[in-house]
Symmetry: C2
Subunit: 408 residues, 2 copies
């Protein structure tokens, strides 16, 4: 049904943009690499017969008309940005699967009732500004100008990066879709876990997504000379932070599915012979169960406070992002199962530990996701991999799912 | 005897170069700030009647002839570079005290047998290249071209930085002094500790210096997605490093005087939602007793290895610098006590937890140091402070010490 070779060649071609010496991919939002990726996908959208535009926040959109141009649209897509030194499938597979499904519909001369739009969302990962899902927030109408004040590691605000990319931040509300105008959103994505691999299945039907809470810890101690300050007189921000990291590991391990990750970690002033006076780090905490996540968060905060008090350190904890777990639409799940059945594919329910753009759309429309098997469960890493066959299976399931969702 | 006001004004004027918004000072080696500082001190050397030159490694030298121009020279000085966001006294006090002593000798029309040279050494702190005491190593003839391959955080080698500063790395051997050509080296420096403050005394006589060992730890794990990798399947380099930091604190605290500091700490790839795959950090370990320091080092290395093995992490430990503790010349100590007595100052013996340029000169000539009281023992920090009276006391003790040492 879908053209496996075409899909694979496009994935590989896209993977050349932002490729690092390590083999990993770095395509941060509003950079030349992200721009080049969108330009390339735009070409393929045109090849697929779609009407292409970009909205006020830079979301790349390719539209295929339905019989009823005024009907609520079916959206399908993903994102093209990556984390630092990430992989080739996280994001691109969803966008290119949707392009492939559209191209196949045109090749087969299929007509749908509803229009279908393929979308490549701007900045899903949040790797640059520690604030992700910018494009889907704008589409949902929840993105605020205040949030665009967030800065990257060079101090550049999202606002400024948008302007440099030719966008007008004052117009972000124009990217918002009205309630009722979107019938459904469906996304193909690699699983980034090992459940499908262990089950020996190419695709899975997502039941829900764990909500990521992002906290930023700032610990202030006293910078001082490494040679002349006795251990007993120190207020070493780094040693305090290290103790908190042990607590995070300990408390998350008590729960079955909670995961906690400190990914950004900076030490100041950063001299070999200076006791650190300040440490800043982020915590990414997730669970599919909101109560469990909150309990772990509270235990970490409480012990972090105790550690800092005992060491004479000041502690500040800011919430960078707090997203509740999301449940996928049961109707869409059933449609995906039917699509799998039509293709002779066995599929099982899976949960997502990762966040995805659909979380931002939860109040706009029903959402659903199709997972594709990941090799060794690895992602956000150059070794991220899904086979050509599995990628094509995901696109084929999406094709049938979209056909059904676009039928009134 | 010395001009307290002049010395203080010069300290304050020099403190304007490299001043940060925080009030701290950043003057890294081979930068415009360090150049400006040397140019200013050069002017004051000329005012003090010294013949000024810079040697092949950029050491700034002001010479005052003795009756016997061929006699072994007495050296006195310190350095002008600083750590990141450091203080105004660490280094400058020693260089400017020596300039002040020379200017007073000229004003008093005093003649000495031996020539005296004031020296401002290049890059004592090692803040830029994690490799310090470059000027004193060159003077001692121990600096090698290999060592100049060390790089700063931008990847610039010492070699390249020297060339950009107009120096020829191939000629560093020309900065070396021959055995017998230097009669003694004396340095005034702030204590950077609280012993003198607690004793209520302005100056102290240094008996020895703790040797700094600098190690670089590299821990390699597996970068992976923060949301989809269960805690039990992680090889998180940062959590392993945090556990090693706890060991460092625990093992150093077992000893009376050992201090261990992790000052530089970098986490890769550094995304909020990526499990760290690599961590690099430095350890600065010191004790005045060489055996104690070595025992602590071995215990830390052993436990770090066990932690990494248990977590499936690779560990590499490199020695960046390994300096044995140094004992100051008893003859110079006695000369300093006599100088204090002549000034009516009570002085006590002190040890240095910090490293200083004299450590590099140990095999070239007898070395000695005069410590000046530090407020709250703080240094390598904007709050670093010694009073105008105490600074002048240090310069006066240096004056008398140099007079005696320069007499055959």
């Amino acid at each position: 049904m879908v053209n496996q070779e075409r899909l694979w060649q496009r994935l590989m071609a896209l993977g050349e943009i932002g490729k690092q010496p390590s083999g990993g991919i770095t395509r941060l939002s509003f950079t030349a690499e992200e721009r080049a990726a969108k330009n390339l996908v735009r070409q393929w959208m045109i090849e697929a017969g779609l009407a292409v535009r970009e909205d006020a926040v830079g979301n790349l959109i390719g539209r295929r008309e339905g019989r009823d141009a005024g009907a609520a649209v079916v959206l399908a897509g993903s994102h093209l940005d990556s984390v630092l030194n990430g992989g080739n499938f996280d994001g691109p597979l969803g966008a290119l699967s949707a392009v492939e499904a559209m191209q196949c519909m045109n090749e087969a001369g299929v007509q749908t009732d509803r229009p279908i739009e393929v979308i490549a969302f701007t900045d899903e990962e949040g790797a640059r500004f520690r604030f992700g899902m910018i494009g889907s927030r704008a589409l949902a109408g929840t993105l605020t100008l205040d949030e665009l004040e967030a800065t990257d590691s060079d101090g550049v605000r999202i606002l400024d990066a948008m302007r440099q990319a030719g966008l007008n931040p004052a117009k972000i509300s124009e990217a918002a879709r009205s309630k009722g105008s979107v019938h459904a959103y469906v996304e193909v994505h690699i699983e980034q876990g090992k459940v499908l691999e262990q089950a020996g299945l190419p695709v899975g039907v997502v039941t829900g997504l764990a909500g990521p809470l992002w906290l930023k810890f700032t610990i202030i101690g006293q910078a001082s000379h490494a040679g002349t300050t006795p251990m007993s007189m120190r207020h070493d921000a780094l040693v305090g932070a290290a103790e908190i990291l042990q607590v995070i590991e300990h408390e998350t391990r008590k729960e079955e599915r909670t995961v906690g990750t400190v990914g950004q970690f900076s030490v100041f002033p950063g001299g070999v012979n200076i006791i650190p006076g300040r440490v800043e780090f982020t915590l990414d905490l997730r669970d599919v169960d909101a109560d469990t996540r909150q309990n772990v968060e509270l235990r970490i905060r409480q012990q972090a406070r105790q550690i800092c008090d005992a060491r004479g350190l000041a502690l500040d904890v800011q919430v960078l992002q707090d997203i509740d777990p999301v449940h996928c639409s049961v109707d869409i799940q059933n449609t995906v199962y039917e699509a799998c059945a039509a293709l002779g594919l066995k599929a099982i329910p899976v949960v997502s530990g990762a966040g995805h753009d659909c979380m931002q759309l939860r109040d706009l429309c029903p959402v659903g996701m199709i997972f594709v098997r990941s090799k060794d469960g690895v992602s956000h890493h150059p070794d991220e991999w899904s086979s050509p066959e599995d990628c094509a299976a995901g696109a084929a399931v999406l094709y049938h799912t979209l056909l059904k969702l676009a039928t009134v």
